[in-house]
C-alpha cells in the first residue's frame, strides 16, 4: 500500500518533467524514437543512428539525450541490455543477436553522456547528468540482482572530477541527487578511490573533488527526509557513511600540504560546511586550522578562525590569541573579499560575551569606527550598528561617547594607536569615538542617521545585524530610489554655464570653459 503511494507520488512528480522533455524534443526525432520503440525485433541501425546524433556538435543535444533516456529505459525494461554488473553472466540468457549491438550502443551512449557533463552549455551538462542518473535508476530497477549500479556512479564521479573547468551546471544538478541517501552513501564509498593523486600538481581536479564533497550534505534535514534514488528498499547506514567521510577527510588532510590558496580555501569551506560536524575526532584539526590561521591572512584565516571557533565551542579547546587574530582581520582591504559578511558574523559572536575586558572591546569599537570612515556604504552601516551593539553590551564603554565632566574639557589628540597589533595595548579606552561625529557628516543619509545614535540616547535593544549582512551597495541605491517622498528641490541660482554660480569646483580643476 505504502509502496503504491510512493510510486504515485513519483509519477506525479515526473509528469511535468515529461512535458518539459517532450517540448525539447523535435518532432522528427520523436517520430524516429517512436518507430524504433514500436519495432519488435530491435532495429539496431536506427539505434546507432540516434546515438551517433549525439556526437554531432550541431544537433540539439538536450533533445537527443531525452530521447536516448526513453529508449534505453525501454530497452532495459525489455531486458535487451544486461546491466553493467552482470555482464559476464549474461550468456545464460537466451542468445539474442541485437542484444550485443544494443549493449555496445548503450555503452557508447554512456560515454557520450559523460563527455557532455563538462559541457560549456549549462542546459546540456545538466541534462546529461540528469539522464545518467535516470539510467542508473532504470538499470537498478531492471537488473536481476537488484544491485546498485555503483560502477556507473563511479564513472559519473570520475567524469566530474576530471573535467577541465569546474562543471558548475552538472554539479548543481548532482546536488539534487545527493539529497538521496543512497547516492550519498555510495558517493562517499567511491570517493576515497577517486581522490586526485596530488593536490599541488592538479589543483583543478582537487577543486572539483572538493566541490563534489561540498555537495554531500549529511545534515539533519537530509537524513530526516529519507529520500532514495533507487527504490525504498535501499538502506542507509549513517555510521558507515560517517566512517567513509572520515576516510575521505583523512585522504584530503594527508595530501593538502602546500596547496594552492584557492584549493586551500575550498578545503576549509568543505571542512566547515560538510565535514566538521561528522568528524570522529575533530580535535585533530586544531593543528591544521592553526596553521591556516597563522600562515595566511584574508579569507583563509577567516575560515580557519571560524573552524577554531567551532572547536572552541564543541571541543573546549582554548586559543588565547583569538581576539588579537580577529582584531587584526579588520583592515581596509577586507571589504573587498568575499567573506566579509562571515567576518562580521563571527566578530559579532566572539564579542557577544559581556565578560570580555573593556579595553579589548573598546579597541574593536575604535577600529570598526576607523574602518567605517573608509568602507563602502553598506559596511559603514553595519559597523556603526555593531559599535552601537558593543556599547550596549559593555556599558563601561559608553565613556567613549560620554566623557565625564573634567576630561571632556581638555582637547587631546586621539590616544588610540591604530598600528598597534595587540588590541589591549592600543589605548582605545582613553579615546573617544570622534569618527562617529565625522560619520554624521556622511553624504549618504542612511549612514549619517545611523551615526546619530551617539548624540541621542542609546536604543533599548541591540540591532539585528544578520539582516544587514546581506545588503549590497546596489540595495542602498535601490532603497534610496524607491523612497516615496519625492520633492525635487532645485538650486535657486541659475547656472549660466558649466560652472556653478557659487562654490564651483569642477571648472576650477578642469579646462572646460
Amino acid at each position: 500500500m505504502k509502496q503504491n503511494n510512493l510510486e504515485n507520488k513519483s509519477a506525479n512528480k515526473q509528469a511535468p518533467e515529461l512535458a518539459a522533455k517532450r517540448a525539447n524534443v523535435p518532432a522528427a526525432l520523436q517520430q524516429k524514437a517512436n518507430d524504433f520503440l514500436n519495432s519488435n525485433p530491435v532495429n539496431t541501425k536506427a539505434l546507432k543512428q540516434i546515438v551517433n546524433l549525439l556526437e554531432n556538435p550541431d544537433s540539439n543535444a538536450v533533445g537527443i539525450m531525452y530521447v536516448l533516456e526513453v529508449i534505453f529505459r525501454n530497452l532495459l525494461k525489455r531486458k535487451l541490455i544486461s546491466t553493467a554488473e552482470n555482464k559476464t553472466c549474461k550468456s545464460n540468457a537466451k542468445p539474442q543477436e541485437p542484444n550485443a549491438t544494443c549493449q555496445i550502443q548503450y555503452n557508447k551512449a554512456w560515454s557520450l553522456l559523460l563527455a557532455n557533463l563538462g559541457n560549456a552549455s549549462k542546459e546540456e551538462a545538466g541534462t546529461a547528468l540528469k539522464v545518467c542518473m535516470q539510467l542508473i535508476a532504470a538499470e537498478a530497477k531492471h537488473s536481476r540482482s537488484k544491485d546498485w549500479p555503483v560502477t556507473r556512479l563511479r564513472s559519473i564521479l570520475e567524469a566530474l572530477i576530471n573535467a577541465e573547468a569546474t562543471p558548475t551546471a552538472a554539479l548543481a544538478e548532482f546536488a539534487k541527487f545527493t539529497r538521496c541517501l543512497d547516492v550519498l552513501q555510495f558517493t562517499y564509498q567511491l570517493l576515497p578511490g577517486l581522490a586526485p593523486k596530488s593536490y599541488v600538481d592538479t589543483p583543478n581536479l582537487a577543486f572539483n573533488y572538493l566541490a563534489i564533497i561540498n555537495l554531500l550534505d549529511l545534515g539533519k534535514t537530509v537524513l530526516n527526509d529519507k529520500q532514495f534514488h533507487i527504490g525504498p528498499e535501499s538502506t542507509f547506514d549513517y555510521d558507515r557513511t560517517r566512517q567513509l567521510l572520515n576516510k575521505v577527510w583523512n585522504g584530503i588532510i594527508a595530501s593538502c600540504n602546500g596547496v594552492d590558496e584557492k584549493v586551500h580555501r575550498q578545503v576549509l569551506v568543505v571542512l566547515l560546511e560538510r565535514i566538521l560536524p561528522h568528524l570522529k575526532n575533530p580535535i585533530l584539526l586544531t593543528d591544521f586550522l592553526m596553521d591556516s590561521l597563522h600562515q595566511f591572512d584574508g579569507p583563509i584565516a577567516l575560515l580557519a578562525l571560524q573552524g577554531i571557533f567551532t572547536l572552541m565551542q564543541k571541543q573546549n579547546i582554548t586559543y588565547p590569541d583569538v581576539y588579537q587574530k580577529l582584531y587584526n582581520m579588520f583592515y581596509p582591504r577586507m571589504f573587498y573579499n568575499k567573506y566579509k559578511a562571515r567576518l562580521f558574523y563571527l566578530a559579532d559572536i566572539f564579542l557577544t560575551s559581556t565578560h570580555l575586558p573593556e579595553n579589548l572591546v573598546a579597541a574593536f569599537a575604535k577600529r570598526l569606527a576607523r574602518l567605517a570612515l573608509k568602507s563602502p556604504t553598506e559596511d559603514a552601516i553595519i559597523m556603526i550598528r555593531f559599535i552601537c551593539n558593543l556599547l550596549l553590551r559593555h556599558t563601561g564603554l559608553q565613556r567613549l561617547i560620554c566623557a565625564t565632566g573634567a576630561a571632556s574639557a581638555v582637547e587631546i589628540a586621539d590616544p588610540y594607536d591604530e598600528t598597534e597589533l595587540d588590541p589591549v595595548k592600543s589605548g582605545a579606552l582613553q579615546s573617544s569615538l570622534w569618527e562617529l561625529v565625522l560619520l554624521q557628516k556622511h553624504a549618504v543619509p542612511e549612514v549619517a542617521n545611523a551615526a546619530k545614535f551617539i548624540t541621542k540616547s542609546l536604543p533599548m535593544v541591540e540591532f539585528d545585524l544578520s539582516s544587514l549582512l546581506e545588503t549590497k551597495e546596489c540595495n542602498i541605491f535601490d532603497d534610496e530610489v524607491k523612497k516615496e517622498v519625492k520633492q525635487f528641490t532645485m538650486a535657486y541660482e541659475r547656472p549660466t554655464n558649466f560652472a556653478l554660480p557659487q562654490y564651483d569646483i569642477v571648472t576650477k580643476y578642469w579646462d572646460i570653459l
Binding site: 565625522l438 528641490t489 556653478l500 576650477k508
Partner: protein
C-alpha cells in the same frame, strides 16, 4: 382618525406656544394687566442653599398653572370629548388652522397652496404626473386669469378718468331750476337728457375705435421702419465731429483704472532688496533641508504655494514676477491689455543709451538685463510668443513671413543683436520635433553656437503656458536634450570633446529653465536615466561607466539643491559616485581622469553642506600612491581599487630621467577623459590637481569637522614619499601647501565626546482641573459615549414620568367632564320627573275637582 386628532391637538398647543413666543413683549406685564396676587404664589422652602445648584421650583403659581392646564385641556380633550360618538363633524385640515389674523402670514399661505397642489398631484392620474406644463387654472372671482387678461383693454388707461355720471351743466340745469330755456315738461327734459347722453357715449366710443385702429396700424408699420431708424442713428454717430482734446481727456479720466495701485513701480534699490530677501529665504530653507534634524530626517516642507497655484511647477522661480501683469481697459474700452509697456520702455532706453554711451557700461547693463529677462522669462515669453505660436500654426518654418511680425521677438532681437548676423538662418518659430531622431537631425543642421539658440527657441515656442499640450512637449524636449548629451559624449573623441563641453555649458541655462517648467516630471526623467546608468554599471562594477554618466552628475550638481540632507536625485547620485570610486579599477588615463572628475563633482555636491564621501579620500590617496615610484616588490599600503604592487601601482610615477621642469601649470584637460595612454604631462597635471584638491578639501570643506584628522593623516606618509625634486616648481609649491594644510588638520586636537548638556527636566506642573459645569453630584467616571447614553436614559425616564402624569390628569379631566355630564343629565331628569309629577298632580287636582263638582251636583 385618532392619530389625526392627536395631531390637531398638538398643532393647537404648538400654535399657542408659537403665538406666545413670537412677541417678546408678551411677557412684559403691562400696567393695566392683572398683577400677581400674592396669595396665589406658593413658595417652596429651601432647607439649605447649595452653591451652584439652580433651583427652578423655589416658587410657583399653583392656581394659575392649574387653571391654564384646565383651559388647555378643555380646548383640546374637552372639544374632542364633545364630538365623541358624533358621526359628522367639521374638519379643518388646512395648515395653520389655529392661526388667525396676523399670524396667517404669507409663508403659511404659500405652504397651504403647495400642500393643496401636492394633494392634487397625488390625486390626479398617472398621466398627469409627468406633465410639466402648469395645467391648473388660477381663478379670480370665478374667472380664470387668462380670461381676465384676454379682455383687458389696453387702451382703457385714461377712460376711467372720464366721469360716467351726469355732467355739471346738466345737473345745474336740472336740479336748480335752470335758465330761461328750461323745457316745459320735466318728462321730456329727462328723455332728452338720456338721448343726449347716449349719443355722446356712442361718439366717444367711435373716436376711441378710430384711435385704436390707427395705433394698431402704426404698430404694424413700426417694424418696417425699425431698420431705417437704426441706420439713421449710426449715420448720426459717424457724422459726429471728431473728439477734441477735452473729450479725450474726459474719456481717459473716465476709463482710467479706479482701483488703488497695488504694485508701484519698483526702484532698482527696492528690487535689489527684494532679491536679497528672496535669496536669504531660499538659503534659509536650504540650510534647514541640509541639516535635516534628528526628529524628522526627511523633512521636506513644501514651499509656500498660493491657493491659486496651478501646480505648473512655478513655485521655485521668482514669485514676484508673475504679478507684473495688470489688467486694464484701453481707450476703446477693450478689455485685456497688459500694461507691460514699462518693461519694454526701459529696455528701449537702455538700448539707446548703450548705443550712445561707453561700451563697458552698455555691456554691464545688457548683462543685467539678460539676468532680469531670465527671471522674467515666463511672462515675457508669454507676451512675446503668442503671435509666434499662431504663426507656427499657420505657416511653420516660413522665413519670408517673419518680416511682417517684427514685434514678436523684439526683446530677443535686442538681446542677441550681436549674434544676429549669424543666426539669421534660424527660423524664429521651431516646431517641437516628434521623435528624438527628428530632434537630432534638427540640431545637426546648425553649428554648436546656433544649437543653443535653436533649443532656446524651441522652449519659447512650446512654452506650456501657451498651450496645454506643450506640457508634455517640454518634458519630451528635456528627454531629447539629455539623450543628445548622451549621444555626444558616448562616442566623444579627443578632438571634439572640448566643443561638446562648450555646448553643454551653454545649454545649462536652457536645461535649468526647462526643468523649472515641470520639476517633477523632468527630474524623474533624469532620475530614470541615472537609474538606468547605474543598472548598466552594476553589471560590471569594475569598469567606469561612460562619460555621459558623469555629465549627468554634473547636471544634477548644477540644477539641484545638492546640499539637502536627503534629495531624491542627489542622494542616489552620491551613492553611485561612492560605488564607482570605491570599486572601479583604475588602469588608464581615462580612468584616472574620470575618477578625478567624479571627485570634483562630489566635492561640488558637498561644497555647501560639507558632507564627506569616504571614497573621495581613498581615491585621492590612490592617485598620490600611483605617483610614488616603487621598486620591484616594494609595497605601499593602499586600499582597493588601487593595487599595492605591479605596473598599475605606479601609473603616475614619473621616471627620474624625464625633464618636467619646463611644464607650465595646467588644469586637467577634457581630452584626458577620452585618452587611454598616459604621458608625462598628464602625470604632472593629475598629481598637481590632486594636491590642489587636497588643500582645498581640507581647508574649505573638511577642516572644521571633528575627526578630520583621520581623513588627513593617511595622506602624509604618502606625500612624503613623492620625489618632489622631479616635479616643476608649481607642483612643489602646491605640495608644500597641501602638506602644511594636511599637517595642521592631522594634528587636530579634539575634546572627548560628551553628550550635549541635557536640559533640566521641568517639574510636572499640576494644573487645577476645572469642570465645566459643577453640579454637586458625584457620578462615576464614564466614557463619553456611556455618559451620553446615561443622560439620555435619564431624560427618557423623566419624560416618561411627565407623560404618565399628564395622561393621569387627562383622565381625571375626562372623568370630571363625564361626571359633570352625568350630574347634569341626572338633574335634568329629576326636573323632568318633578315637572311630570307636578303636571300629573295638577291634572289629578283638576280631576278631583271635577269629580267633586259632579258629586255636589248629584247631591
Amino acid at each position: 382618525m385618532g392619530v389625526k386628532a392627536k395631531k390637531s391637538n398638538a398643532d393647537a398647543v404648538y400654535s399657542k406656544k408659537a403665538g406666545k413666543t413670537s412677541n417678546p413683549f408678551d411677557t412684559a406685564i403691562s400696567q393695566t394687566s392683572k398683577r400677581l396676587n400674592p396669595f396665589d404664589v406658593h413658595v417652596n422652602k429651601e432647607k439649605f442653599k447649595i452653591l451652584g445648584r439652580i433651583c427652578k421650583h423655589d416658587r410657583g403659581l399653583p392656581g394659575v398653572s392649574r387653571a391654564k392646564a384646565l383651559k388647555k385641556r378643555a380646548e383640546t380633550i374637552g372639544k374632542q370629548y364633545e364630538v365623541k360618538h358624533k358621526t359628522n363633524k367639521f374638519r379643518d385640515h388646512r395648515i395653520g388652522k389655529h392661526l388667525s389674523g396676523e399670524q396667517l402670514t404669507e409663508s403659511v399661505m404659500n405652504a397651504r397652496y403647495l400642500a393643496e397642489k401636492l394633494s392634487q398631484v397625488r390625486a390626479s392620474n398617472k398621466a398627469q404626473k409627468f406633465n410639466l406644463n402648469d395645467d391648473e387654472l388660477l381663478t379670480h372671482r370665478g374667472q380664470t386669469l387668462e380670461e381676465i387678461e384676454k379682455y383687458r383693454d389696453e387702451r382703457s388707461d385714461d377712460e376711467e378718468l372720464e366721469d360716467e355720471g351726469l355732467d355739471a351743466e346738466f345737473t345745474s340745469a336740472a336740479h336748480f331750476g335752470g335758465g330761461a330755456d328750461a323745457p316745459q315738461d320735466r318728462q321730456t327734459a329727462i328723455e332728452e337728457m338720456i338721448s343726449e347722453q347716449k349719443r355722446r357715449k356712442i361718439e366717444i366710443a367711435k373716436d376711441k375705435d378710430e384711435v385704436h385702429d390707427l395705433t394698431e396700424k402704426l404698430d404694424a408699420n413700426y417694424k418696417d421702419l425699425l431698420s431705417l431708424v437704426a441706420k439713421a442713428t449710426k449715420d448720426e454717430q459717424i457724422a459726429k465731429p471728431p473728439p477734441d482734446d477735452y473729450d479725450k481727456l474726459l474719456k481717459e479720466m473716465i476709463f482710467e483704472p479706479r482701483g488703488s495701485v497695488t504694485d508701484k513701480l519698483i526702484t532698482p534699490e527696492e528690487l535689489a532688496k527684494q532679491e536679497a530677501a528672496r535669496l536669504e529665504q531660499l538659503e534659509n530653507e536650504r540650510l534647514r533641508r541640509m541639516k535635516a534634524d534628528d526628529e524628522q530626517p526627511e523633512t521636506n516642507v513644501q514651499p509656500h504655494r498660493s491657493a491659486d497655484d496651478l501646480d505648473d511647477g512655478y513655485f521655485a522661480t521668482g514669485v514676484e514676477d508673475d504679478a507684473d501683469d495688470t489688467l486694464a481697459y484701453d481707450l476703446d474700452g477693450n478689455l485685456g491689455t497688459h500694461l507691460n509697456s514699462k518693461k519694454e520702455n526701459p529696455k528701449g532706453q537702455s538700448n539707446d543709451k548703450s548705443d550712445e554711451g561707453s561700451d563697458d557700461e552698455a555691456d554691464e547693463e545688457d548683462d543685467d538685463e539678460e539676468e532680469e529677462e531670465g527671471s522674467d522669462s515666463d511672462s515675457e515669453s508669454e507676451a512675446d510668443n503668442l503671435s509666434d505660436l499662431k504663426a507656427s500654426d499657420s505657416e511653420p518654418d516660413s522665413e519670408s513671413e517673419q518680416t511682417p511680425q517684427p514685434k514678436k521677438t523684439k526683446s530677443k532681437l535686442q538681446k542677441s543683436k550681436v549674434s544676429e548676423a549669424v543666426e539669421t538662418s534660424i527660423p524664429y518659430t521651431i516646431k517641437m520635433p516628434k521623435t528624438y531622431e527628428d530632434f537630432a537631425a534638427l540640431l545637426a543642421k546648425y553649428t554648436p553656437a546656433q544649437q543653443v539658440t535653436v533649443v532656446e527657441r524651441i522652449i519659447k515656442c512650446n512654452h506650456p503656458k501657451l498651450e496645454g499640450v506643450n506640457r508634455e512637449d517640454v518634458v519630451k524636449l528635456f528627454g531629447f536634450l539629455l539623450h543628445y548629451i548622451k549621444d555626444m559624449f558616448e562616442d566623444a573623441s579627443e578632438l571634439d570633446i572640448g566643443s561638446h563641453f562648450k555646448l553643454v555649458s551653454q545649454l545649462m541655462p536652457q536645461l535649468h529653465d526647462l526643468v523649472h517648467l515641470n520639476i517633477d516630471r523632468m527630474s524623474n526623467t533624469l532620475l530614470d536615466l541615472i537609474k538606468e546608468k547605474y543598472a548598466e554599471y552594476r553589471k560590471n562594477h569594475k569598469i567606469y561607466p561612460s562619460l555621459d554618466t558623469l555629465i549627468y552628475f554634473k547636471i544634477v550638481s548644477n540644477l539641484y539643491s545638492t546640499s539637502d540632507f536627503r534629495h531624491p536625485l542627489a542622494t542616489p547620485t552620491y551613492i553611485f559616485m561612492q560605488h564607482m570610486l570605491s570599486r572601479a579599477r583604475v588602469r588608464t588615463r581615462q580612468d584616472i581622469a574620470m575618477g578625478l572628475f567624479v571627485v570634483t563633482i562630489a566635492l561640488e555636491f558637498g561644497s555647501r553642506s560639507k558632507r564627506l564621501l569616504p571614497a573621495i579620500f581613498n581615491f585621492l590617496q590612490g592617485i598620490v600612491h600611483m605617483a610614488i615610484p616603487k621598486r620591484q616588490q616594494e609595497r605601499v599600503e593602499i586600499a582597493p581599487p588601487f593595487e599595492q604592487e605591479g605596473p598599475f601601482s605606479k601609473l603616475l610615477a614619473i621616471p627620474a630621467t624625464s625633464d618636467t621642469k619646463a611644464l607650465q601649470p595646467q588644469k586637467l584637460q577634457p581630452a584626458d577623459l577620452v585618452t587611454q595612454t598616459i604621458d608625462v604631462d598628464f602625470k604632472v597635471r593629475a598629481l598637481d590637481s590632486t594636491l590642489c584638491l587636497l588643500k582645498q578639501i581640507f581647508k574649505e570643506q573638511m577642516g572644521e569637522h571633528t575627526g578630520a584628522c583621520y581623513l588627513a593623516a593617511p595622506f602624509l606618509p604618502l606625500i612624503e614619499q613623492l620625489p618632489m625634486n622631479l616635479y616643476p616648481e608649481h607642483v612643489q609649491e602646491h605640495c608644500a601647501e597641501a602638506t602644511t594644510t594636511l599637517k595642521s588638520v592631522a594634528e587636530q586636537k579634539m575634546k572627548p565626546l560628551a553628550p550635549p548638556d541635557k536640559k533640566p527636566k521641568a517639574l510636572r506642573l499640576l494644573e487645577p482641573r476645572f469642570e465645566m459645569v459643577y453640579d454637586d453630584k458625584r457620578r462615576p467616571k464614564m466614557s463619553k459615549q456611556k455618559e451620553e447614553r446615561a443622560k439620555l436614559l435619564h431624560k427618557i425616564k423623566r419624560e416618561k414620568k411627565g407623560a404618565i402624569r399628564e395622561i393621569r390628569r387627562d383622565t381625571a379631566f375626562v372623568q370630571d367632564l363625564k361626571l359633570k355630564q352625568q350630574i347634569q343629565s341626572d338633574n335634568e331628569r329629576r326636573e323632568k320627573v318633578k315637572r311630570i309629577y307636578q303636571e300629573a298632580s295638577v291634572q289629578q287636582g283638576e280631576l278631583n275637582e271635577l269629580a267633586r263638582a259632579k258629586k255636589r251636583k248629584k247631591f
